[in-house]
């Protein structure tokens, strides 16, 4: 009843594969083709958006590991991204470290700092932990803006574009390949994580921490491990922003950033990699679409156009509320519904509770 009709797995290897049925592999193949063809067809404007989405996807997956998969709330996302961005930027600026090693360094430093600020999770849950991570956000922001000798304080850092095989990654087209590969690697790593021991333990901590402890999961250790793993990818997103924008400024990494990322994973789908991507895409595209609409209305309806910045704020809130009310499982659940509908199309038959 809960199995895909007509598909039988004869080995455990194929049964634990990430894409278990041909339709899934076909869809993945199509997606890969679109991703490869996209930069050749898209204008720089859309390429820029695509790069932003790819970076946001990395950050959203990172946050989702902590919040969606392990059930630990974090309001420190923006600050942790700042740690990644500043570490990478400063290493390149001050020590001339190439982008490769300095990105790795940035990830590790963010991971360590994220783990440190995850320690209150030993005693705190839910809203209390949220407040503790809010403190992390404020402390890190304060350190960045006041540790002038190292970070430049409120002055922005100017970071040179990365170089790969002697080629400067200074155009959207070139940078695209870098972020798409790193975003894919992040997605693959996370998918693997959650079909094996460590990821299952994260989920167990989220679902029932008492039961997790009596089957041998060291709950506190795994909470910290979730902070460490999550912050690693959040740091990666931060470092990528540094190299993509070539400018690192604390203003990009405020509490508002934390909230935008929470919005991404809630709208996209908690505990879902696909959802992280959907959410990153929606939250990145929405302001762009509204701005575009504004430009088009500039001449014909200037009254509406002048109101658009306000509409932008309001529509954000509205979309999140609509999702919370109508589809708490987010865009990834909507996608699942569409797939279920076409699964045995044209027959009117709905699969029961299936895989997500």
């Amino acid at each position: 009843m809960t199995m895909e009709c007509g598909v039988f797995h004869t080995t455990y290897t194929s049964d634990i594969a990430l894409r278990r049925v041909p339709a899934e592999r076909l869809r993945l193949g199509l997606f890969v083709i679109v991703v490869i063809a996209f930069p050749f067809l898209a204008s720089p404007y859309w390429l820029n958006l695509a790069n932003q989405i790819a970076i946001a996807t990395v950050g959203a997956i990172g946050l989702n590991i902590l919040v969606g998969y392990t059930g630990q709330i974090s309001l420190g996302q923006g600050a942790f991204m700042a740690v990644g961005a500043y570490t990478a930027g400063l290493l390149t600026l001050n020590f001339g470290l190439p982008w490769g090693p300095s990105i790795v360094f940035a990830c590790l430093v963010t991971s360590a700092i994220g783990t440190f600020f995850g320690m209150p999770s030993l005693r705190l849950k839910g809203l209390y932990l949220a407040i503790a991570t809010l403190a992390a956000q404020e402390i890190i922001e304060w350190v960045i803006t006041h540790w002038t000798g190292v970070t430049g304080g409120t002055e922005a850092l100017v970071v040179p574009a990365p170089q790969l095989f002697g080629v400067r990654m200074n155009t959207d087209f070139r940078f695209y390949w870098l972020v798409v590969i790193l975003a894919s690697a992040t997605a693959l790593f996370t998918a693997n994580l959650f079909r094996s021991r460590i990821g299952r333990a994260f989920l167990a901590v989220r679902d029932q921490d008492v039961a997790a402890s009596v089957i041998g999961v060291n709950v506190f250790r795994y909470k910290l491990l979730a902070f460490a793993t999550s912050s690693f990818f959040v740091g990666l997103a931060g470092a990528l922003i540094a190299y993509y924008r070539n400018i690192v400024s604390w203003e990009r990494f405020t509490l508002e950033t934390s909230l935008f990322y929470l919005a991404m994973i809630i709208v996209g789908g908690l505990g879902s990699i696909r959802g992280s991507f959907f959410g990153a895409a929606l939250i990145t595209l929405l302001p762009a679409l509204i701005t575009n609409a504004g430009r088009m209305l500039q001449d014909s309806a200037p009254a509406i156009a002048s109101q658009l910045p306000n509409i932008q704020q309001a529509s954000f809130g509205l979309i999140i509320i609509l999702f919370l009310v109508f589809e708490p499982k987010g865009l990834s659940k909507l996608w699942q519904n569409v797939k279920d509908y076409f699964y045995v199309w044209p027959f009117a038959y709905r699969r029961g509770e299936g895989r997500h």
Partner: protein, 271 residues
């Protein structure tokens, strides 16, 4: 950890547990010998669940000690954390089912294998070679449990959507997947119909007979308890009231008095 001077099994020695002014357990001592099927009975609030919680490290008794002797080594469980106690081979189920509701049956059971697996974050994320082989090897172990409990058809079902009786079975399966030395079952048959009860009792007996696991069963159904257990420990108001074979317990004056007026509990035909 030291050289054991006691028999293999669990030794509960003068355990007292208080919650504020409430004495949940007072001076409780009894042994669980490896290889026997022990039943723990008593009226509501007698302290049965509290004993299990002390053994699995969820409650820390103010006095007394709990020691596990297995594979020739003695471990003092009294001050260990729950996950360390599980690693030593103590598994359990809960009176009010504590499953990972949003996960599949398969993942719940795979979590039962957690203590036997080694994979770290990096190897899990890369998922090649040794990590993949480990997953597959433990998947095989889990499939044995699935076979044993006839869970094949619901392998990939989300646990939270399963009927109560099935959830009870899955919780047993998760504990069995750990391949435990001691299996603590808190009312495994509560709330089941007689057919489900019978098959649960059958599974417990099979575990007892076919593996090295020592089951400890709490239940209120005297007929089943007297039928399946080798030895019975009776708790009342947080103290051990009696201890003996089912026959001895059925004849025990103190036990009969303690249960008098408890309409939900019928002492079996022998009385």
């Amino acid at each position: 950890m030291s050289e054991p001077d006691a028999l293999p099994g669990l030794h509960i020695d003068r355990v007292s547990l208080r919650f504020g002014g409430v004495a949940a357990l007072t001076d409780v001592s009894f042994n669980i010998q490896a290889g026997e099927l022990l039943a723990l009975i008593g009226p509501n609030g007698a302290g049965k669940t509290s004993v299990l919680n002390c053994i699995s490290g969820l409650y820390r008794p103010q006095e007394g000690s709990i020691r596990l002797v297995s594979e020739g080594v003695e471990h003092d469980l009294t001050d260990l954390a729950p996950h360390n106690i599980a690693q030593l081979g103590v598994a359990r189920t809960f009176q009010n089912i504590e499953l990972f509701k949003h996960m599949t049956v398969l993942d719940n059971l795979m979590l039962g294998r957690h203590v036997h697996m080694r994979g770290g974050v990096l190897s899990s994320g890369i998922f090649l070679g040794r990590q993949r082989r480990e997953e597959i090897a433990h998947r095989r172990e889990v499939e044995n449990v699935i076979d044993f409990l006839n869970l094949e058809s619901i392998r990939r079902a989300t646990v939270g959507n399963l009927p109560y009786g099935k959830q009870k079975l899955v919780e047993l399966g998760r504990a069995l997947a750990l391949d435990p030395a001691v299996l603590l079952l808190d009312e495994p048959m509560a709330g089941m119909n007689s057919e489900e009860k019978e098959s649960m009792a059958r599974f417990i007996l099979d575990v007892h007979e076919q593996s090295d696991t020592t089951p400890v069963v709490i239940d209120h159904d005297m007929d089943v308890i007297m039928d399946i257990s080798d030895r019975v420990v009776v708790l009342d108001f947080g103290r051990v009231l009696a201890e003996g074979t089912p026959e001895e317990i059925k004849m025990n004056k103190l036990v009969i008095d303690a249960y008098l007026g408890e309409e939900t509990i019928r002492v079996g035909s022998g009385v």
